[in-house]
Assembly symmetry: C2
Homo-oligomer: 195 residues x 2
DNA sequence: GACAAACGGACAGGATCTGTCCACTTGAGA
DNA sequence: TCTCAAGTGGACAGATCCTGTCCGTTTGTC
C-alpha cells in the first residue's frame, strides 16, 4: 500500500475559515445555552443561538460530552488563570477575594456543568479541575496563614459558598436584581474574613 | 325536581379512608420528587415514589399547578410558623437566625418551586407568600433596629442568601457533605451579623 | 353481602429530542 | 476566474418521554 498511504504523512489540513468561525460560534452559544437552560439543553437550541444549522453542531461535536467538555474547559481555564493571579497577589486577602468572586460568577452561571462531567469529561477536563482545586487549596491556606481568612472553613467548602452566592435568581416570587449576586458575595466574604 | 334535588343540600361525603391516605402519600412523594428532580418531575415518577398508580395522582390533582400548589402551601405554612416564632423570640438575633436557617433548608430543597407558581398558584399560595414575606420583613427590621443585623442588607436580600446557602450540592466535582449546608449557613450568618 | 368509591396500570396521542442525509453554498488553490 | 472539496442548513425519520384516559379489578362502608 504505497502511494495511497502518502496522504498519511501529510499534516492534517487546517479547517476552512468559515468552519473555524462556526466552531467558535457554537462554543459561545453552548456556554450561553447551558447557563440559560441547563445541561440538558437541546442541540437545536444551541444551533439556533449560534445561528447555524443543527447539522453543523453535530458535525463539530458528535458527542454531547465533547461539547460540554469544551465549554467546561473554557471556564476552567479562565478560573485557573485567576487562581494563579490570586497566588501572585502580594495581598493574600485581595487575591482570595478576587478568586472567590470569579468562582461565584462562573459556577453560578453554569451550575451543574462541572459535575455532570465527573467521569466522562475525559483527561483534559479532569486534569484542569484537579489543577484548579489545588490552586484554590493553596490560595485558601495562604489566606488562613496570613490570618485574614477564618480557620474553621476548609478549602473545599469555598466552591459551595461561591456557587451559592450567585445561583439563586428567583426565590419566593422575588427576582434577583442586577446587584444581587455582588451583594451576596460581599456578605459571604465578610463572613469568611477573619475579624 | 323535588326528591332528586335532595342530595343537593347534603354535606359532601368525606372521602374514603384509603383515598385520604393516598392523598397524603402523593403529597409527601411530590415534595420529595420536586426536591430530587425539580419542578418538571413527571406524574409517573411521583406515583412511583408514592407507591400508587398514575391514575390516582391524576384523580387527586388533575392540574399540575394544584399539586405543586399543595406542596408549596405545605412549605410556606411551616415557614410562616417559624417566622411568627422569630418575632415572638425575645432575642431578636436568635429569632432571625432560626428563621434564616429554616428558610435556607426549605428554599434549598425546593429551589424554583415558589417561583414557577408566581401567577398560577392561586390566591391560597399568593396570600401565604405575601404573609411570609411581610413576616420576614418585620423580623429583618427588628434585628436591624436591635443593632444585631448589618444595615446594608435589605429584607428582600435575605431569601437569596438563604437559598444560596443550601442549593449547591455538587460543585467542581466535589460533593456536599452532610454538614455542608450548616457550614454555609454559619458563614453567611456571621457575614450578616453586626460586629 | 351489596354497591359505590377508589385503584392500578396499560395504552393512545402528543411533544420533544436525536441524529442523518443530501441538495446547495462557499472558501481556497491553481 | 474556475473548479471542486469542504462545509452548510434544515427537513425528516426514529426514538424517547410525558400526559391523560379508560376500564377491569379491588376495597371500604353501610
Amino acid at each position: 500500500m504505497p502511494p495511497v498511504g502518502a496522504s498519511r504523512d501529510e499534516a492534517p489540513k487546517a479547517p476552512r475559515a468559515d468552519a473555524q468561525r462556526n466552531t467558535a460560534l457554537v462554543l459561545a452559544a453552548a456556554r450561553r445555552a447551558v447557563a440559560a437552560h441547563g445541561l440538558t439543553v437541546s442541540y437545536h437550541e444551541i444551533a439556533r443561538l449560534a445561528g447555524v444549522g443543527v447539522g453543523t453542531v453535530y458535525r463539530r461535536f458528535p458527542e454531547r460530552d465533547q461539547l460540554m467538555g469544551a465549554v467546561l474547559i473554557d471556564i476552567l481555564d479562565e478560573l485557573i488563570c485567576e487562581a494563579n493571579q490570586a497566588l501572585d497577589n502580594p495581598d493574600a486577602w485581595a487575591g482570595f477575594r478576587n478568586l472567590f468572586t470569579l468562582l461565584a460568577l462562573r459556577t453560578g452561571e453554569n451550575a451543574g456543568l462541572s459535575d455532570s462531567l465527573d467521569e466522562r469529561g475525559g483527561p483534559q477536563v479532569a486534569q484542569r479541575r484537579s489543577r484548579l482545586l489545588e490552586l484554590l487549596r493553596r490560595a485558601t491556606l495562604r489566606a488562613q496563614q496570613a490570618h485574614v481568612l477564618r480557620d474553621d472553613v476548609a478549602w473545599h467548602d469555598i466552591p459551595f459558598l461561591a456557587q451559592g452566592a450567585t445561583s439563586a435568581v428567583c426565590v419566593l416570587g422575588l427576582h434577583a436584581g442586577p446587584l444581587q449576586a455582588q451583594q451576596a458575595v460581599t456578605v459571604i466574604l465578610d463572613g469568611l474574613r477573619r475579624s
